[in-house]
């Protein structure tokens, strides 16, 4: 199957394919981190996670238009504003949803799953009514266009690099938040013993709301980043939900490092397979292997050992 | 050794379990004779519940051996251990809240335990009579059609004991059967336990020393996963090591 390629070409192909895998990895990380926080720390299954992402994407779309219309001079930088607004919008919606819906269902995880699915349908319809059924795209600022030639055969797209940098930045930020901030400490305390955490004066309700909000906000940032590499439609969110859940479960719920490692494994496997097989078969095989491993090792790659 | 093996109901030898390096039970050895009532005492976290978990297969041992009559329990599945004749009561009462007292007892009746056995299980006179009999023993004869959710804490404990009785295990393991009971309930339970520990071997975990003196044939004191002292109640009670770590406060 390698006949016809020279050694140099093969290296280039693998390098490019590996780079494509890295972009996919960054995308998975961005998608999965918010979910991992919500699922791992609160045990809540948020089926509307994809729709929170899409909200971020639409916010970015709106901001790019606002900049183009009113501040064309600053257009190169609109993306940073958009990202912040996407975080705020998705986070605020998340807190609202936690207050109205999720907090009533903490003891019923399966019901949460159904209710948030309902929420995702409603959000999709709202997006369709507001933004139309067609996919929308944003104009990427000039500095993000084009690619960086590494050698004369290997080129890397700048927007891909940007997404990767973003994934890295957000991972570090979450890590710091979880393990260095007061909120993170409270979240971890609640996760270990809710009653006790409440008893020592942690406002568990507020912390839950904030956690859910932050998880959704990160989804919004992920959506914002997506606009750099693809277009957005009302149902785009649903395309990712299964992959995202598998990434989180495969990584071992509750473990941020596990989520990142699992995103890496799955994305690399998928993009390498994609080179040899059709896209759909690559995906089928990747997902099958993940599901198969999960059947053998249901606790995921990096499970925490806890007494039940 | 081999002389004893058949005469003991349960032989626990060198039993060890380690949770991420922490040995909750560490090289424990003890033997239970037929019709013996063995009481296990020890401070909180000594590993008492864990020992029962290991015997009934709820927790997998790291090493050692647990022989019940002539079977090695450590390689068996929980339900197989139960069907071999080992019954277990949990520390917190666990009954089926959504089912009636009658149905709770019925599910422990020793027949129809496979998928198809339970699909074609008949509620015949034998079943009903046995349930009636047990219900009288556990003071719940008038509440047979009540949902278990409506029982008091003590009544739930009794119901769980009844579920074990109907199973008729050769070895019965009870984890703090009188904890959380009122004085009156406690007395009734002691009476009940005295009646049911006849004709079978029992391992009881209990903190209530009065109660322990009442029922124990022999006592094992556990401390940090190891046996601190073992023997008749009087001997153990006067053991200075026991007084220091457990009784002395």
């Amino acid at each position: 199957m390698f006949a016809g390629y020279s050694a140099g070409e093969l290296t280039a192909i693998f390098a490019m394919q590996g780079f494509a895998g890295l972009i996919l990895f960054s995308v998975f990380v961005l998608m999965a981190l918010g979910l991992a926080i919500i699922f791992g720390q609160m045990g809540v299954i948020n089926m509307a996670h994809g729709e929170f992402m899409i909200l971020g994407a639409y916010v970015t779309y709106l901001v790019s238009h606002a900049f183009a219309d009113y501040m064309p001079a600053l257009f190169s930088f609109y993306f940073f504003v958009a990202m912040a607004l996407a975080f705020l919008a998705s986070g605020a919606l998340g807190m609202l949803v936690e207050w109205g819906l999720i907090r009533h269902l903490y003891r019923r995880p399966l019901d949460t799953l159904l209710a948030t699915w309902g929420l995702s349908l409603i959000l999709q319809q709202i997006y369709r009514s507001v933004f139309g059924a067609r996919e929308v795209g944003v104009t990427i600022p000039d500095w993000m266009m084009g690619s960086l030639p590494l050698t004369d055969m290997i080129e890397v797209p700048i927007n891909g690099l940007f997404v990767m940098a973003l994934a890295l930045g957000i991972s570090v930020a979450i890590y710091l938040l979880m393990f260095r901030s007061r909120w993170g400490q409270q979240v971890r305390a609640i996760n270990q013993n809710r009653v006790m955490a409440g008893a020592v004066g942690i406002n568990t309700e507020r912390t839950d709301r904030l956690t859910f909000g932050i998880g959704c906000g990160i989804a919004g940032v992920a959506g914002s980043a997506f606009t750099m590499i693809g277009s957005t439609g009302p149902t785009s969110g649903q395309l990712y939900i299964v992959d995202t859940f598998l990434v989180v479960v495969f990584g071992g719920a509750g473990s941020i490092l596990g989520t990142i490692a699992s995103a890496f494994t799955i994305s690399q496997a998928q993009s390498v397979l994609e080179f040899f097989l059709s896209g759909s078969m690559a995906k089928v095989i990747t997902l099958l292997v993940v599901v198969g491993i999960l059947m053998l090792r249901p606790q995921g790659l990096f499970a925490l050992k806890l007494r039940k | 050794m081999s002389i004893h093996q058949t005469s003991f109901v349960l032989s626990v030898e060198d039993l060890t379990v380690s949770f991420d390096g922490f040995k909750a039970v560490d090289g424990l050895t003890f033997y239970v004779e037929p019709n013996e009532c063995r009481v296990m005492i020890g401070p909180n976290g000594a590993g008492k519940t864990t020992v029962l978990d290991l015997i009934c297969g709820r927790t997998r041992a790291t090493s050692g051996s647990v022989r019940f009559k002539d079977q090695e329990l450590l390689s068996m599945r929980e339900d197989q251990i139960v069907l071999a004749g080992v019954g277990r009561k949990f520390q917190t009462p666990s009954v089926y809240e959504d089912l009636s007292v009658f149905e709770n007892l019925e599910l422990s009746f020793p027949r129809g335990h496979g998928v198809f056995g339970s699909l074609f299980f008949r509620r015949d006179a034998e079943v009903k009579d046995r349930i009636q009999e047990i219900a009288e023993t556990i003071f719940l004869a008038d509440l047979l059609d009540e949902k278990a959710a409506f029982l008091s804490h003590g009544q739930k404990q009794w119901l769980e004991i009844g579920m074990l009785l109907i199973q008729d295990p050769e070895l019965l393991m009870l984890d703090e059967p009188v904890a959380g009971m009122s004085v009156a309930e406690r007395k009734k339970t002691a009476e009940l336990l005295n009646r049911i520990i006849d004709h079978r071997s029992v391992i009881v975990i209990e903190h209530d020393m009065g109660f322990v003196e009442d029922i124990a044939t022999r006592v094992t004191v556990l401390h940090q996963g190891k046996t601190l002292s073992e023997g008749k109640m009087d001997k153990v009670k006067n053991d200075p090591k026991v007084i220091e770590v457990y009784l002395g406060h």
Partner: protein
């Protein structure tokens, strides 16, 4: 007071409810609807097979599968493969470059029938496959998951992933499966044209009879000790295990039973609607089937049938006239059922309607138990009870 604790197959009230449903399905719908609408209701009823299975798995056993579409699809595809082969005689497909194979294979440059299609030339094999293939698949999933004690949300997510995988696979392997369009243009069953109005009417009744067979099977299960064990497992899995039951085998059994029901439903879908496609297999149809059961009442097998009819009828009516409203309505339905009516229609009936009717006809109300909620619900408040608190100390 001597109480007779006989386990009856049907109590008197349940018999009345079964009779009522039979009247609706066998008399009222066929008399009230034209043959187009009747066929539509026949299609809805094929989803009810899935909903009944979900009541057993999810309502009783606490096992929520978000991949029931997989089993519906496997049953449906088994049937469709047989019908497609019958429709692809060498004469009927003479214009193809390879006559005698299904048209979509020919379009995808496949020149011989794949070996695994061959057995579907036999009706007997296909009918057996309708049940056996989904059951075998469920068995494999069940053994892998339940033996390792995977349950709850993990099970839900993994079954959902399986539904996604199967859909991608079917769509990707166009040449073997008909791809995204599915297997279409099905005509005759052993020479009997299934596209005529009479044929559709007959199929409606065949479907109804099969549905009642499944209802009776489900009723038998929930009346048996196995039914009570499922509830016991949902609430206190460890206690069941330490009463000497191999918990996993019971879960595998209901999961397989649900898959068998779904497979039959899928086959009847193919026969009545005339095609099978991946749109009935994936995540979205699978989770919609859960909402059918939830609306009817996750604890009631009869409720599940009514729920299925109602939601689908609403879907058809609403999406004909207000397509935007439908998705909003469906989303709201998911939320409302979970938040406000966890026991669905059956719960409303037994908790709200029946007590009022009883008051109205005071003196005549005999049975004290609400019959429409045959499985006791999860007592959510239990962990808060003072007794439990005392025990925790």
């Amino acid at each position: 007071m001597q109480i007779d604790r006989k386990t009856r197959f049907l109590t008197r009230e349940e018999a009345i409810y079964f009779g009522l449903l039979a009247a609706v399905i066998f008399l009222i719908l066929p008399l009230a609807l034209d043959s187009f609408r009747l066929n539509l209701f026949g299609k809805y009823l094929t989803y009810a097979f899935v909903a009944i299975g979900l009541v057993l798995c999810w309502g009783a056993g606490g096992i929520l599968s978000l991949g029931q579409g997989v089993f519906f699809g496997l049953g449906g595809y088994a049937m469709a493969m047989f019908l497609k082969l019958e429709a692809s005689t060498p004469e009927a497909t003479a214009i193809q470059s390879t006559p005698g194979i299904p048209d979509f294979m020919d379009w995808n440059q496949i020149t011989a029938l794949p070996w695994w299609w061959e057995p579907f030339n036999s009706l007997a094999f296909s009918l057996i496959a309708v049940v056996i293939v989904p059951v075998a698949f469920a068995f494999i999933i069940g053994v892998a998951m339940f033996r390792r004690r995977v349950g709850g949300v993990y099970f839900a997510i993994i079954t959902q992933a399986i539904a996604a995988i199967l859909t991608i696979l079917i769509i990707g392997q166009q040449g073997f499966t008909g791809g995204v369009n599915g297997i279409t243009d099905l005509r005759t069953l052993k020479g009997w044209d299934i596209r005529t109005d009479e044929a559709k009417e007959i199929l409606y009744f065949v479907n109804a009879v099969l549905l009642f067979a499944c209802l009776f099977a489900a009723q038998y299960v929930r009346r048996s000790k196995l039914g009570r064990l499922l509830i016991a497992m949902r609430d206190q899995e460890d206690r069941v295990r330490f009463s000497g039951y191999d918990v996993a085998s019971f879960k595998i059994f209901v999961f397989c039973l649900g898959a068998a029901f779904a497979g039959i439903g899928g086959a009847m879908f193919t026969l009545q609607v005339g095609f099978m496609s991946p749109t009935l297999v994936g995540i979205v149809p699978s989770i919609e089937m859960v909402i059918f059961a939830a609306v009817g009442g996750r604890l009631s097998i009869l409720g599940a049938v009514y729920g299925t009819l109602l939601v689908n009828w609403a879907k058809t009516t609403l999406s004909e006239s207000f397509p935007e409203l439908w998705l909003l309505g469906l989303g709201a339905l998911f939320i409302a059922v979970v938040m406000f009516f966890p026991n669905g229609l059956a719960g409303l009936w037994s908790e709200q309607v029946m007590p009022r009717l009883r008051k109205l006809f005071a003196g005549r109300g005999a049975g004290a138990r609400p019959p429409a909620a045959p499985f006791p619900a999860n007592s959510a408040s239990a962990p808060d009870s003072p007794a439990a608190k005392a025990a925790a100390e």
